[in-house]
């Protein structure tokens, strides 16, 4: 069976900068915006783009992620025309190896892709927050006849040295790639989203596997190798909201962006870019007689008896009487007991904040409180 586009979602990273949030689960499985998990975004984007064949590359703490993917029904991918499967490193005739890098994760699954025989492979990251349809990027890739198309976003020139920067010509063809350059030649940063012509990518992956010096990384190895050998690499200029939520503060900020419902609007009723997720069988969300909630979002199952301002409140979270939460991301099952005060914090799932406990009350930096009992 031939499938024109297969998406491969890289979801194996540990996400060490998210500290204990990723102690037991992979970064793409981390809770987001009261109801979602981060990986819902690329998966829903695929569903909305009509891409129904997806491999999810897992490695670090994959159990929760595997269970969450289930039969794919959360994103409508349980039909006869869909394939959604997780691909963890496994033992083969050649032996057993972990994925040594992003490119190696795909290389170790060449058989999976060969069976599907796609024309194009879309490489995505499992830990980005954005709403898009990939069709325009794939169309551009086809029209330009490129070997690879790389999604780029304009960043503040002062920040450019933190990113992989693409220098392009007048036709947006990439002429140089700089990984975290001291003197960036443009402000176009790679988003880690690629469309490859499968035949070409396959060859480069095979060569990369044999290269003992390689870090087996798309940004560090595959893209520079393709550029050096004169392959055509096209830049696709992404417009709109896109965030890499790799740190506590960026994760917190992206959650706050959802409350603003401005650049990133989950409430616009636009069914063409809707984000799908699990619907928990929770009790109705309840705000108590002296409860107070404003400038916030809250999911079903949340019980708000205290005061909540500028917060993201997940299912089964309880804010007890006289507790005050401001500027917090309160994940599922967290219990903020009576009289506690919490500010600028991410409260990990099932964490209990004790009565009258004070967390970061005058703090400007984001703190993580993680006392997972479950």
């Amino acid at each position: 069976m031939s499938t024109k586009v297969v998406a491969m979602i890289l979801a194996g990273g540990k996400g060490t900068r998210l500290e204990s949030l990723t102690k037991k689960i992979a970064k793409p499985a981390v809770s987001f915006a009261a109801k979602y998990h981060i990986i819902d975004f690329p998966l829903s984007n695929c569903a909305n783009s009509g891409i129904n064949t997806i491999g999810v590359l897992t490695q670090y703490e994959s159990t929760f992620l595997d269970t969450y993917l289930g039969s794919g029904e959360k994103w409508g991918m349980n039909g006869v025309h869909s394939v959604l499967t997780s691909l963890a490193p496994r033992q083969t005739e050649e032996g057993a190896q972990w994925y040594k890098g992003t490119a190696d994760a795909i290389a170790q699954n060449i058989d999976f892709l060969d069976d599907l025989d796609p024309e194009y492979v879309l490489i995505l990251s499992g830990d980005h927050i954005y709403k898009t349809l990939y069709n325009e990027m794939i169309d551009l890739h086809q029209q330009t006849g490129a070997d690879a198309t790389i999604s780029v976003i304009e960043v503040d020139p002062k920040e450019a040295s933190r990113f992989g920067i693409m220098a392009v010509n007048a036709k947006d063809i990439i002429v140089e790639f700089q990984e975290k350059p001291k003197k960036p030649k443009s402000n176009l940063a790679s988003m880690g989203i690629y469309v490859f012509t499968w035949k070409t990518l396959r060859k480069y992956l095979k060569d990369d596997m044999k290269d003992e010096e390689s870090e087996h990384d798309f940004g560090k190895n595959i893209i520079p190798n393709m550029l050096n050998s004169g392959k055509k690499l096209q830049a696709y200029r992404f417009k709109g909201y896109w965030r890499d939520v790799g740190t506590l503060s960026s994760l917190h900020q992206a959650n706050m962006d959802i409350i603003e419902a401005d650049e990133m609007n989950l409430f616009d009723n636009d069914v063409s870019t809707r984000i799908y997720t699990e619907d928990t069988y929770s009790v109705p969300q309840y705000v108590g007689p002296v409860g107070y909630i404003s400038h916030s979002i809250a999911n079903q199952g949340a019980i708000i008896l205290g005061h909540v301002t500028s917060c993201v409140v997940s299912n089964e979270a309880i804010i007890a009487e006289n507790a005050v939460c401001t500027n917090c991301v309160i994940m599922e099952g967290a219990y903020i007991k009576r009289g506690a005060r919490v500010h600028n914090a991410i409260i990990a799932p099932y964490t209990v904040i004790e009565e009258k406990e004070e967390i970061n009350v005058d703090g400007d930096d984001i703190v993580l409180v993680s006392r997972r009992v479950k």
Binding site: A33, T277, Y281, P284, Q285, Y286, I297, A298
Partner: protein, 373 residues
């Protein structure tokens, strides 16, 4: 044991909730902003391990279908378990002959193919969290043909007026059923959950034509009990029951369940209530939102004030708007500075013109689906 049991949700023979059920079955009527009333019965079956379920739709089968959804199969194994909807194709929905038994009879061939030893039949208007294993176990132990679940309440309890009462004799035998007029000190209300042994169930379907074409399951059970033609027993239930037998009771209990103590009696940690998914985002509260003692469903956007109310999915309460002591169904919009009190607004209502819309404490004002006020 549960693989020997067939569960039936009976949407026939249900009380009218007046305007609310004029165009939809009671079983799919919105409750607490999040559920259809039949979700409680379906969840009881699912949590009891009853994996094969038939919903008997009297009318508007499409709305039953869309509420059950395609992917919403609350069973342990989707090959072995199922949820089907049966309706009587040959009878007009309004026909007095369109009974639950006629529905069963017209689908008797496919029911005949299902392997089961016992069948549980339950309505969607008595809300409770109940493990049907208890009823079935009691039924098997007594060797009865039919066992009915009952609830003992004082005759003075107006919530159960006009409900069926079982006259319970020794060993739980039921000698007759009669209507609760509230004159007795205590009564055993029939919760209309029946468990039948298969042979008794098939006998009832077969004989119903000879007894009366107008009889429902409930009436047939009464007929068998009164004439001592079947061994009908009662099993008392001492848990909490919310009777939705009229529009007034629907409103009264909706608001009562805002109280945490009432809610705890229905919603239990180990007994989830399943419902269909609508892929809505979380609820969004604006900077000037003021909300107290209310249920707020996902997808709603609250910028104004909400007090003592039930807000369903995708409802918008604009800035300056005030919603008090009201029940608002899905996708209704309450425009800027508009004030509602004691209002029950059906789906897709737009409150934009009239600045104040008020019902009364004892008589909620119903606003029809889709109108502009």
């Amino acid at each position: 044991m549960m693989n020997k049991v067939l569960g039936i949700v009976n949407l026939h023979d249900s009380p009218s909730l007046g305007v609310l059920t004029a165009r939809r079955p009671l079983g799919v009527t919105s409750f607490l902003g999040r559920y259809g009333l039949m979700d409680f019965t379906l969840s009881n079956y699912s949590n009891s391990g009853i994996d094969r379920v038939i919903v008997l739709a009297e009318r508007e089968a499409h709305s039953v279908r869309s509420h059950l959804g395609d992917g919403q199969v609350w069973v342990r194994n989707t090959k072995l378990g199922f949820q089907r909807i049966y309706k009587n194709e040959s009878l007009l929905p309004s026909s007095k002959f369109n009974t639950d038994i006629a529905n069963l009879k017209s689908n008797s061939n496919t029911i005949g193919e299902i392997p089961f030893e016992y069948v549980v039949i339950a309505p969607s208007f008595f809300i409770m969290s109940y493990d049907y294993n208890e009823l079935i176990q009691s039924h098997i132990e007594s060797g009865a043909d039919v066992t009915v679940l009952t609830k003992r309440v004082p005759g003075s309890n107006k919530d159960f007026l006009n409900a069926d009462v079982a006259e319970v004799e020794e060993e739980g035998k039921v000698s007759r059923f009669f209507t609760n007029t509230g004159r007795r000190k205590e009564v055993d209300i029939s919760l209309e959950s029946f468990v039948f042994t298969r042979s008794a169930f098939e006998r009832m379907i077969k004989e119903s034509g000879e007894v009366s074409l107008l009889y429902s399951i409930r009436r047939m059970v009464a007929y068998y009990a009164e004439n001592h033609l079947m061994d009908v027993r009662a099993l008392p239930f001492d848990g909490y029951v919310v009777p939705i037998l009229s529009l007034n009771l629907y409103v009264k209990h909706s608001f009562d369940l805002l109280q945490y103590s009432s809610r705890l009696k229905i919603f239990k940690d180990e007994w989830p209530i399943y419902t269909t998914t609508h892929n809505t985002p979380p609820a969004l509260y604006g900077e000037r939102a003021i909300v107290s003692n209310s249920f707020i469903a996902n997808g709603s956007i609250i910028k104004g004030r909400v007090k003592n109310s039930i807000i369903s999915r995708d409802v918008i309460v604009e800035e300056g708007a005030v919603v008090e002591d009201s029940i608002i169904f899905t996708q209704t919009e309450i425009g800027k500075d508009i004030k509602l009190r004691y209002v029950l607004a059906d789906k897709h209502v737009k409150f934009v013109e009239q600045k104040k819309v008020n019902g009364e404490k004892d008589e909620i004002l119903y606003i029809e689906q889709g109108v502009r006020v």
